[in-house]
Structures are given as structure tokens and as C-alpha cells.
Symmetry: C2
Subunit: 623 residues, 2 copies
């Protein structure tokens, strides 16, 4: 077989003998080309056709949204492309005297340019400096991309009131494509750069990048909270894995990484004033986060338009990490920790709940909060956890029963809920004190639906001005209607659509896990909070529904498999919450499949949802 090198992309291929690309890949030419018909890219034999284009070219310019994901609110795209190289990108940033904003835009531009580099199919096999030099056609690739970014406000941190809107216009003349980005603040500008990067693709026959020559986009998200929960306690997640997750969230315009940091299984958080928590609670000598690590991640997230929200689940879902004192006659900090048979004391092994009879619990929790407030600064939102308290645990623990009786609290179900409510109020005050010490207002609290959030109890313990309820039951649960009618703000994570851990094999016993089956991207995409609310209450509840979140509980994933479980499915949530489409998954499919390819180009091991044939033959993989 000939081992000729490919001069330019496939330019040498006058016969059907493969040549080798600069990175050492064999390459073959192809007889196929594409044309846009009725908004779909259609594959044709180039032998019999004029005016065919490459697959990527067709995808960028066919249909109202090209390959944008999530689709913008208002968009008009041109039908032609211009080729350019990633080193021919010249940015101009207008950010006034807002030094930090200017620096963040500069950093976002570096990420933008790296994302463009990554469209090259050989990215990662050669150094960036030489990646393109042998592959492009110097006769046709002569264009420049100028990016003008204007940011008018200096908002440094993303919060629930941040204006994430932006405007982006693209026009082309005389060898220059000009992209103009206008945003109220850094976060809108960042989203605009993400959108701009999605008007770009690799040009398969020119060996260069290409960009849509004209575009007019006005964009704003439908929901202000677009979250992804990552559980770092059932299995630990490395910093690199969290960074990859943030990269993919940025690509899909999700804006909140909810870190379920700790659970009864492990406490992977090194707090300098409470080193015993990690000493006893980390899975091994390396599996913990330091404050520096978390601060690094917070900065990494921010420049990608994402806020971190920590959760130290309490008063249940605690255990390992709390084995140390103070015990002076007060019992352990937790009860039922690792207790057997676990089925009697919790929902999954290992069990564990805070020991309400030991007042040191509040000293420790207060100190944890002070450390958290110091790390996640400014903390405008915090998740208390608050799910799955097992009354039988408390009610079968001598020291708790004794304490309940000694204080005349009673031993009924309601007595325990009352004390849970008291715990929650104390926790809230501890956190409020911790932020007050930093001269910051009390964070808005998130809390999972539970028996405490039911009508009849929530009025007593959970002030709707201070708490947002995260719904994790099913979309039929009448509690949704109750909460909305009581005036609570809510975030949807109904497990029948948005739990990403469902559908794998059981990890206790055999068969499949509890929330099987697997939630396909179509189900995730079509799970519309406004529609659910309308069905339950007759009203879309646009003011009360802050947004939604997919949950990646990590009993059955870690660094090795996380990407494929999160992606591309979480991107389906991205479009649901950013665009809130009235159309269903079927219309989104070609863009979604292409976005998955984009995630892979960015280093994410996203799952494949269809044969590549479907990607090349849009609309033919249907039932």
C-alpha cells in the first residue's frame, strides 16, 4: 500500500489509494457531498451533482438554527461560509475600566480560541503550533475573523439576578468576517462567544476552519437556574473530571454546578480548622478537596459562566468523617453510622444521621459553614440537603430517645419532624451568621422535597422567602402543586426524567437500580417544568419556577465513566432551560447529535446516541 503523504487535505488523492495525513492517519477521498433540502442536510453522490458541500458546511448553514445548541431566542443565519485559520482570529475588547471584567473576557477569548483549535480532527495528536500547517489549502484559506466584544457592566459573580442576555452579529466583507458581541456583563459576553464558536466548524475538504458569513442573534435564557448535580461522596471525582464537566456545561449554557460534596459514605473535604473530617472521611490519602482546589474550581467555573453551589447534606446523609469526638458523655456526632441491617435505618448503605442530642453537632456544623462561606465567596445560594431523614434511626437510638423524653419533646412521628425542623432552623441561622461575619446577606437556601417540605410542616419550618424547594419526586407528585400554590419558588429535578444514574444494574442485590429505566435524552428534553406546572395548577408558574437540574448521583460512576453518563444528556437539559422550546426532541435531534460531536471535540467522552449514519442522513432514523 502506498504511504504517500496527503498534501493539503486529500489533494493528492487522484486514485483510491489511502495517503497519510501529517499526523500519520491514513485518509481516503469520498464520493459524497451534501445539500440542504427543506431544512435537512441530505447526502448525495457527488459524481452526479454540482454544488454539493461538505457535511459540516451543510450543517452550519441548513435550517433556522444551524448547529447552535441551545438554540437562541432570535436568530437569522446566512447560507454561506468563509474559511479561516485559528491563528487568524483578532479580538478587540471594550470593557472600560473594569479590570476584572476585562481579564475575564480575555480569558474567555483564550478558551474560545482553544475551542476553535479543537475542531481539527487531529487535535491532541500534534502540538497546536503545527496542527494546521500542513492540512489547509493555502490558495483558498485567506480569511480573518475579527471579534469585537463590548461589555457595559462589571458584574463579577453569577447570581440568580444576573442578566445573561447578549447580542451577536456576524458580517463578512473583503476577506474579514466581523463578529460583534454586545452584553450587559461578562456572563452574557461569554455566552455570545460560545454561540460564536458554534457558528464555526472544521472544513473537511479545505483543511481549515469555516464560519457562517452572516448572523444576527439576540439571546436570553428562559430559566435563570440551569443546574447539574455532581455527587462527589458516593464516589470521588478528580479535579480534572470536574473541570471537564464545567467545560461541557459551558458548551451547553448550563450555569450552576451543584456539588453534593459529602454524604454518609465519605467526607472528601479538607477543612483546615476541622482536619479530622477528611482524615476519617476521605476514601484514601488522595481523595479530598482542599480550599485551594475548590477556589480554583470556582474561578475555572466562573469564566465559563458557571457558579458552584455547595451542599453538605444534613441532618441525614452524614456518617463517615464524623467518627472523631467530641464525645464527652454526649455520644458521637452521628448516630446509626454504618449501622446494620441498613434497610432499617436508611435508604442505602451506609446509614448515618446527625445526633440531635449532642449540641457539639451545631458547633461543628457552624464551623463547616464558616469554612464554606470563606471558600465559596460570595455565597448567594446554598443547598442544605435535608432529604431522606429516617425516623426509625433516631427513634431506635437510646441517647436520642432519652433526650427527646428528657426535654418532653415526645416520641411521635411529629415530635421527630419538629426536632428536624428545629435542626433546620438552627442550621439556617448558623449559615446566616457565617455570611453576616463577612458582611454578606444570608444565602438563599435550597432544600430537597421531603416530609419536612410537605404542607402542614413547611409553613412552620421553611420561610418561602428564605428557601427554594428542589423537587426530586415524579412530575405527577401533587406536592408540586401544593408548593407552588403556597408560594414557594422551586427547581425541578423530578427523577422520572432528570436523574442520570437510573437504569444501570443494581448495586445492592441484582436486577436494575431503583429508578430504572435509563432516562433517554428525548425524555430529558421534553420534560418541561412550565408544562408540568400548567397540568397541575393550570398556570405555567413562570415566576415561581427558577429552573431545573439533572442529578448525577455517583453510586455507579466516577472519573472513568462520568462523562458518558452526563453527556450529551445534560445538554438536552441545556436547551430545555435556555430555549424552553415549544417543539419536541424530534426537531432538535440533528443539532443535538452534532452538539455531541462538539463535546467530544472538547475532550468530553460523551456517549454516542445513534449510528454515525444517522448524523450523515438527517431525519432517516425515526420510528
Amino acid at each position: 500500500m502506498g504511504l504517500r503523504s496527503c498534501l493539503g487535505v486529500l489533494m493528492c488523492l487522484t486514485s483510491l489509494i489511502p495517503c497519510t495525513s501529517p499526523a500519520g492517519f491514513f485518509q481516503l477521498p469520498s464520493p459524497w457531498g451534501w445539500t440542504c433540502e427543506n431544512g435537512r442536510s441530505v447526502k448525495k453522490d457527488a459524481g452526479g451533482m454540482e454544488n454539493l458541500v461538505t457535511l459540516n458546511t451543510c450543517k452550519l448553514t441548513c435550517g433556522p438554527y444551524g448547529m447552535l445548541w441551545p438554540r437562541p431566542r432570535e436568530v437569522m443565519l446566512g447560507k454561506t461560509v468563509a474559511t479561516f485559520l485559528p491563528d487568524k482570529v483578532s479580538p478587540i475588547v471594550t470593557c472600560g475600566a473594569m479590570k476584572e471584567t476585562c481579564a475575564m473576557v480575555d480569558e474567555a477569548l483564550v478558551i474560545f480560541q482553544d475551542n476553535l483549535q479543537r475542531y481539527h480532527p487531529d487535535y491532541g495528536t500534534r502540538d497546536k503550533a503545527t496542527l494546521w500547517q500542513d492540512s489547509y489549502n493555502p490558495h483558498t484559506v485567506t480569511h480573518t475573523l475579527q471579534v469585537d466584544v463590548t461589555v457595559s457592566g462589571g458584574e463579577r459573580d453569577l447570581n440568580l439576578n444576573t442578566d445573561e442576555s447578549y447580542e451577536l452579529s456576524v458580517s463578512t466583507k473583503e476577506g474579514v468576517t466581523l463578529a460583534i458581541i454586545i452584553a450587559d456583563n461578562f456572563f452574557g459576553a461569554r455566552h455570545a462567544l460560545e454561540t460564536l464558536s458554534q457558528l464555526v466548524e472544521y472544513h473537511e475538504s479545505e483543511g481549515s476552519l469555516m464560519i457562517v458569513t452572516s448572523a444576527k442573534i439576540k439571546d436570553v435564557p428562559a430559566f435563570r437556574y440551569r443546574g447539574l448535580l455532581l455527587d462527589t461522596a458516593r464516589n470521588f471525582m478528580s479535579v480534572e473530571t470536574i473541570e471537564r464537566t464545567l467545560d461541557a456545561m459551558a458548551a451547553s449554557k448550563l450555569n450552576t454546578l451543584h456539588l453534593h460534596l459529602t454524604d454518609s459514605h465519605s467526607f472528601p473535604l479538607y477543612l483546615p480548622s476541622l482536619p479530622n473530617l477528611a482524615y476519617y472521611g476521605a476514601y484514601d490519602s488522595r481523595k479530598f478537596y482542599t480550599p485551594e482546589t475548590l477556589r480554583h474550581l470556582q474561578k475555572y467555573a466562573r469564566v465559563r459562566g458557571v457558579r458552584l453551589m455547595p451542599e453538605i447534606d444534613a441532618p441525614a446523609h452524614v456518617g463517615n468523617g464524623f467518627q472523631w469526638g467530641p464525645k464527652e458523655g454526649l455520644g458521637n456526632l452521628t448516630v446509626c453510622a454504618n449501622q446494620e441491617p441498613w434497610q432499617e435505618f436508611c435508604v442505602e448503605p451506609p446509614c448515618g444521621q446527625f445526633n440531635l442530642a449532642n449540641p457539639h453537632v451545631y458547633n461543628v456544623l457552624g464551623q463547616i459553614y464558616r469554612e464554606l462561606v470563606d471558600i465559596f465567596n460570595p455565597m448567594d445560594i446554598y443547598h442544605y440537603g435535608g432529604d431522606e431523614v429516617n425516623l426509625n434511626c433516631w427513634n431506635t437510638t437510646d441517647e436520642i430517645v432519652q433526650w427527646m423524653m428528657n426535654n418532653n419533646f415526645g416520641l411521635t412521628e411529629n415530635s421527630y419532624y419538629e426536632q428536624w425542623g428545629v435542626f433546620q432552623e438552627k442550621a439556617r441561622q448558623l449559615l446566616a451568621n457565617a455570611t453576616l461575619a463577612k458582611a454578606r446577606p444570608e444565602p438563599l437556601g435550597l432544600i430537597w422535597t421531603s416530609h419536612l417540605t410537605e404542607q402542614g410542616r413547611n409553613e412552620r419550618y421553611l420561610d418561602p422567602n428564605k428557601y427554594v424547594i428542589q423537587i426530586w419526586t415524579t412530575k405527577q407528585d401533587p406536592v408540586i402543586k401544593q408548593l407552588l400554590e403556597q408560594g414557594y419558588r422551586v427547581i425541578f429535578s423530578n427523577h422520572d426524567a432528570w436523574y442520570l444514574d437510573c437504569g444501570f444494574g443494581a448495586w445492592v442485590g441484582e436486577g436494575n437500580n431503583w429508578c430504572s429505566p435509563y432516562k433517554g435524552w428525548q425524555l430529558i428534553y421534553d420534560n418541561s417544568p412550565h408544562e408540568i406546572a400548567t397540568q397541575l395548577t393550570g398556570n405555567p408558574q413562570t415566576q415561581s419556577i427558577l429552573g431545573g437540574e439533572v442529578a448525577m448521583w455517583s453510586e455507579q460512576t466516577d472519573d472513568a465513566s462520568l462523562d458518558a453518563k452526563l453527556w450529551p444528556r445534560s445538554a438536552a437539559l441545556g436547551e430545555r432551560l435556555w430555549s424552553n422550546p415549544t417543539t419536541g426532541w424530534y426537531d432538535a435531534e440533528p443539532r443535538f447529535v452534532h452538539h455531541r460531536q462538539r463535546l467530544v471535540s472538547r475532550g468530553i467522552n460523551a456517549d454516542r446516541i445513534q449510528p454515525e449514519w444517522c448524523h450523515q442522513n438527517e431525519g432517516h432514523c425515526y420510528l
Copy 2:
């Protein structure tokens, strides 16, 4: 926070302030240790205990099988370990004048030593030369591992008669651990090296390797065919991905990689005498295998104890790649290719079947076979495919109907099955001619269960001496009993247990895919061909059942997610077919979970099946 470096592993940690390892990781000490109780590793607080050991130490020496996967036929393991460094391994190979065997053993020893290196938790973050130098305790790690390998026979290629047995003994005295390996041929010796590598682990507190100080193992597989099907046609798999798959197969003692190379979706195979197949059939300019690529993979596989078995599915599951001539009045090589509505002509898009009315089909197929026989040399086994022929496709295609009538074949169902049978017999003869030209016997043919393999038809078309039937229906299917009673040899791939693509979202339509739910490792492990045969026929059919195979159809996976879908589940098949245990998954769980960690250390992105807490607290994650 202190950024002191860790001298030795955690030796500096007199306080609870993290130090940084040579590779830059923060590390904390741990209060935990383990002890072996009733064959289980039990976690204890080291504060109150003497004689605790590290988790890996405990796992290596606790229970009858240590952490061996699959478990050997006969095994006795010592209860202590000796620490050593990977550069203190000295091999002695006795292989007579069998030059190729000697070279293969040398290569297997290189792989063995690399696998030992990979046990270091920082593997991949530093170069191998410096990986260990700062981490081990020089006062206690002074041992040498001597590996004596004696191979008596020169068998070069794995086939269904290869003796894969081996003996391995390990003993320790005076600072040397001696491992003696005796095998009939290279393949047994390779398995012994794999087993030996599983008597080794990273010692968490010494920063070195450790090996069980004594062992006596006699081992032989229960089944001679232990397969894994990889589909490279629905989505393409890179060479690196296939190499990783082979690495993990080697670690799990699977011995046959069944390459479902082509399908109606794509033809990713560049054959120099038929370049049009890849020109029309490859997904893009890079997604094809050359003969050199496949020869490389064959060698890569062989030294890992794995044989490659190609399948060019026919006469259905063909289409893309065959669009070129010869058409002179004879129609295309395939019919129904990409035809719509696909539901009428095939089981999934895109459709396509060979055009039986065009005799050029046999010229092309014969040429494909000649090329395959040249690449996969020696070819002692070949998979014809032969599944899911859609009669409606042929019976609605004018040229086929015309041809059937012109030749007086009739147009009944049976007429078409008859012609399918004729096709199969011609295909077999073409392959036999191709091997005959190389002075090799006709390969044993594998074929999927179908209407052609049903009693009443199979007697006419499928000689039990020439064909092995691969069962892909359910374990209840009466066809299994029929085939066994007819004297066919069979390979099990019943989809209700051994199809790894099941349980994800649908890729046509919505909901979940056709063979949902997901097959957990427990189901895979407990799927015993001998038990199934006994239930159906009253006899375990040990002679007729050659083995089994997991199938990874690739509609919904590619390079990015393959590992997590294949592994560790395919390793459950490894133990089922190597050890054929009479005990169920529950007894195997701690070893299985540890083997998963081993796969990850070897660079495989294997899925996590449990919280790490379960790995550290054996037997506590139960239902």
C-alpha cells in the same frame, strides 16, 4: 495550607496537614486499617488495633482466591506479602529453539512489567523512570521478583484446540520471590503471567509493589471460546480503542475478539483490490482499516492471548459501500439499500441485502474473502453473519422477483429461504477456495441463529461439521434444545443476558432501546450455558457448547463511551467462561469490584458499579 512534600508515602504526616506527593497531589494520612475475618476484608480504626494492614494487602491475602479474576481451577495462596519495585523483576525464559515463541514470551513479559508499573496511583502523571523513586520506603522495600517461564511447545496461533492451561508456583526466601511458570505453549504462559500480575498490587503505605509470598496454582479454562463482539460498522472504532479492548480482554482471559466489521451502515475496510468498498462505505476519510492496521491488531491480540475473528455479515446487513458497479444490466450489488420506509425492509435503518440476481455479488464476495484470508492468516474460524434476512426486501424488488420467476424458484417464503441457503453454500465454497489457495483447510464457520438455522432448514444448508451456531435469542428459546439435539456445536450470546447495548435510550423514536433493560454484571455472571442446556435438554452439553460471547452492537457507542459499556461487565463473562463457577455473583463481588479497579489502572475507562465504600467494606452492600 502547608505544601510540604511527602517524603516516602505519608511519612511526613505527623499532623493532619496535607503534604504534596512527588506528582503534585495533596495527600492525607488515614486512621483506617484492614483485617481478614471469615474471608472478608474488614475495615477498622487503626487507633485501637494492632496488626492491621492496608486495604490492598488485605485483599491480596484474604479469601481463597485473593483478588484473582477469573478465579483459577486450583489455587492455594499465602497470607503474607513481600514488597518490591517494578525494576526489580528478573525474568528467565526457557523456550528451546522456538524463536517466535521466545519472542512472544519476551513481549508478554514487557506487557507484564508495564502492568505492574500501572499499579502506581500516579502512573501516567510522571515518566516511568521516576515514577517510584520518591514514593517508596527504602528501608523496607528491598525484595526481588524472579520470574521463570518454561514453555514446552511452539504453538504460534490460538485456535479452538489450543491448550491454554498453565501452572504457576510462587515461593519466597532470602529476599527473593520466585515465580515458576510452566505451560504447554505461549498462550498458557501468557495466562500465567496475567495471573501472576494479579498476585501483585500497590502497597499504599510502603509506596512500592507487593506480591503474595507463596502460591500454588493449576489452571485451565472451562470453555475454549470466550468471546467479545465489537461492531465497527454502526459506529467506527479507532485502532487505539480496539487495542484498549484487547488489553482488557487479556486482563480477563477472554480469548476471541469477534469483529463485526461491516454492516448496512458502513464498510470501514480498505481492501486494495476493492478500494471502492471503503471509498463509498467509510463514514469519512479516516474511518477505515487497512490490511496493515488489521495485521497490527492481530499481532497485538495474539501476544495478549486473543484471536481475531472477522465477520462480513451477509446476505443481509449490507448496503453502504456497495453503491458502485458492476451494474451492466444486472442491477446493483445490493437491493433495498437505504430504502424507505425502512420498517418494511429491515430491522433498523439503513436497510440493504445482497442482490441474489446479480452474479457479480459472488465475484465481489469471493474477492473480499481472498483479501480476508490474506489478512487474518491463518484463518481457522470465520463468522458468516447470516442474520435477519428480510424476505419482504427481496420479494418487493422487481429484479429479484423476476429472477426467481425466470429460474422457476417460486415466490413462496420457502423459495426465498432456499435461495438464501444456496447463497450461504456458495459463500462457504468461496471461503473454502480462498483458504485452499493458501494450502489451508476450510475455516470453521460461525453463523447467527435465524430462520435458516431452524430445524427443517438447517439440515439442508448447514453441515454441523462445518458450522457452529451462535445463539442470540433468549435462554428460553426452544431452538437451543433443537440445535443441541441435532448435534450442532453452539456459542451462547443470548441477548437477555449478554447483549451489552441494551437498556439505553431509544435511537429510533423515544423511550428505551429494543432489548431493555440494561444487563447488569450479576446477570451476565449467572448466565450459565451448561445450566441453560441442562434445563432445556437434561444434559449440560459440555462437548457441544464451545463457549459464549458478549455482544457490543455499536449503534449507541463509539471511542468515547465504549470502555464503560464493555467493562467491567465483559469481565463477568470472563469468569463465567474460564472458571464456570457453581457459586453465583454474590460470592464473586469483592474480587469483581477489585478487578474493575485493575482495569482502570490499565487505562480502561471501566464503569464503576458501586460506591467506593462497598469496596472498602466488603459484604455490606447487599439487599
